[in-house]
């Protein structure tokens, strides 16, 4: 099937978009389970192991269970749906209702440009060079930065409209934090863009044919990873929902599935940022034999995302939370100068190599 007209392209994007959103939302459910299980193991606990298991025959009179707890996400979802949906009296109604929606939408939007696999002949119609919802957007990286800068709105709106001091403190912390770390992230994202000479994510992946940018640019990769953690409000940067001081921050007045939406957005963004890290620094869908069997691209992307998620959870289990002034001075006085200097070094190196002064 070849794509010629605009409406065919729209249908293609809709179908792929539906599938990928569905996959990522399922991924969200199991990321919550992965986080709980892995955190538990790192803290010498067992974690959720009751909801759903595969019974296998007893041996030696001992009852044995396989995959204990794999239905836990379904149980959590049912619990969230059946909880009472309370609306506090003094909230600002419109913004209060809109905030969870505005939090989820940008998370889904970023999915549009992420390449999940290379050209897959039996899935991707002719002329599309990689498998994504909207392949070939020549400002893909800029699109990602724009959408991540919008995603702060959900948190700010939730914080303000709840009309509660914990919530507004969380909202103010969130907006300052996300604006600060966006700068460092934007500057480090430009490094793969300069190396690949394109803002198209597929071209960036193909540019890592010889070597991953992680090995060429370990500093940029590290700064991007830290800034991504801050952007996601993950530990150790989760002080806008710090349970101990703000009792969950901006989500404190939300209940039932409205709270679930914030949860959904957070975990979806975890998956998406791991995918972005894979695209920018870990060679995206590329791996051994991917040229012969293009469908392996999905497997490699999934593996890299899984690895990223595990590292995020590991960091959460290991590091204590930043204090607010530490967070700000770290963002502005450490990360930003490092990323500016790194950016300049890369730019100068590229010019020198192109001019033939440095031979590589």
């Amino acid at each position: 099937m070849a794509i010629n007209t605009l409406s065919q392209l729209a249908v293609y994007s809709l179908v792929v978009g539906f599938i990928m959103t569905f996959v990522v939302i399922t991924g969200f459910a199991y990321t919550t389970l992965l986080e709980r299980k892995l955190l538990a193991r790192l803290q010498h606990r067992v974690g959720p192991n009751r909801a759903g298991y595969i019974p296998i025959p007893t041996r030696g009179g001992k009852e044995r269970k396989l995959l204990g707890g794999f239905m836990q996400p379904a149980a959590d979802a049912v619990k969230l749906f059946f909880k009472e949906d309370m609306t506090p009296v003094m909230v600002d109604k419109w913004t209060y209702f809109l905030a969870p929606i505005i939090t989820v939408i940008p998370a889904i939007f970023i999915l549009a440009v992420i390449p999940w696999a290379g050209f897959v002949p039996y899935i991707t119609p002719e002329g599309r060079d990689y498998f994504a919802i909207a392949p070939g957007i020549n400002v893909g990286v800029l699109f990602i930065l724009a959408i991540t800068s919008i995603s702060v709105y959900g948190v700010v709106l939730a914080g303000w409209s709840s009309n509660s001091k914990y919530a507004i403190l969380g909202g103010i912390r969130a907006s300052a934090q996300m604006i600060s770390y966006e700068l460092a992230m934007g500057l480090t994202v430009l490094v793969p863009v300069m190396l690949a000479n394109s803002m198209d994510l597929g071209v960036i992946v193909e540019g890592q044919r010889g070597m991953w940018y992680l090995f060429l640019q370990p500093i940029a990769a590290l700064v991007f990873w830290i800034a991504a953690l801050a952007e996601l409000q993950r530990a150790p940067f989760d002080l806008l929902e710090a349970e101990q001081e703000l009792s969950a921050g901006f989500t404190v007045e939300y209940s039932s599935m409205r709270f679930g939406m914030f949860f959904l957005a957070e975990y979806m963004k975890m998956i998406i940022f791991c995918a972005l890290f894979a695209v920018f620094f870990l060679g995206g869908y590329r791996g051994p034999f991917v040229d012969q069997v293009p469908a392996l691209g999905f497997v490699y992307t999934a593996l890299k995302v899984f690895l990223g998620l595990c590292v995020m959870i590991w960091i959460r289990a290991s590091l204590p939370r930043f204090r607010y002034d530490q967070l700000m001075s770290f963002g502005w006085k450490v990360l930003l100068p490092i990323s500016v200097v790194n950016f300049m070094i890369v730019a100068v190196m590229i010019v020198l190599v192109e001019e033939g002064v440095l031979g590589f």
Binding site: D92, V139, S149, I150, W160, I168, S175, E182, M199
Partner: protein, 177 residues
């Protein structure tokens, strides 16, 4: 009506309605949100014009930075839920003059272009440029034949603003006298 016209009407309607809301809403926070919606509508118009780069820049700068700074300022300075202000202030007169003059300007521009050939069939941009639009933009910014002087002037202005901001925020040294 084609699909494109329908989308254009929807997007420009959003821009205009949100723009009116910005100046009529009493709640300052809601007005700031309406302004962000209006910016979003403008980004939609850029996308319809095939200017993806401009749309992304609009999202990044106007919505992601300027609006959020305004909202941040409102959150820090106003009392929650009591951000009520009158929609009129002492600058209403200046605003009126500007609005009337822009309206006259627009009337002249549109009547000039009406039934003009540019109006009926806008000039085609070569596909070679469309495919390399970001590269073209970048090289035009620094080539002496194009926009290097406006670019440098704008950069100087931004640098001056940055230095000014640092100076204002610098901790004041106590007078020894």
């Amino acid at each position: 009506m084609t699909g494109e016209q329908f989308v254009f009407l929807a997007v420009s309607g959003l821009t205009i309605v949100a723009g009116i809301l910005v100046v009529t809403l009493r709640n300052l926070f809601h007005a700031a949100l309406a302004m962000m919606l209006s910016f979003l509508g403008v980004a939609g118009i850029y996308i319809m014009l095939g200017a993806g780069f401009l749309a992304a820049a609009q999202l990044l700068i106007y919505i992601g930075a300027i609006s959020i700074l305004i909202i941040f300022a409102i959150m820090l300075t106003r009392r929650m839920m009591q951000a009520q202000d009158t929609p009129f202030n002492s600058q209403a007169g200046a605003g009126l003059v500007t609005a009337v003059l822009s309206f006259i300007l627009l009337v002249f521009v549109i009547t000039r272009l009406w039934r003009n050939e540019i109006f009926d069939s806008p000039p085609e941009v070569p596909t070679a440029i469309m495919n390399q639009i970001v590269v073209q933009l970048g090289s035009d910014f620094v080539s002496p034949g194009a926009y290097v002087i406006p670019f440098i002037v704008a950069s100087m202005l931004l640098l001056a603003a940055l230095i000014g901001a640092v100076y204002v925020a610098w901790p004041q040294v106590e007078d020894e006298a």
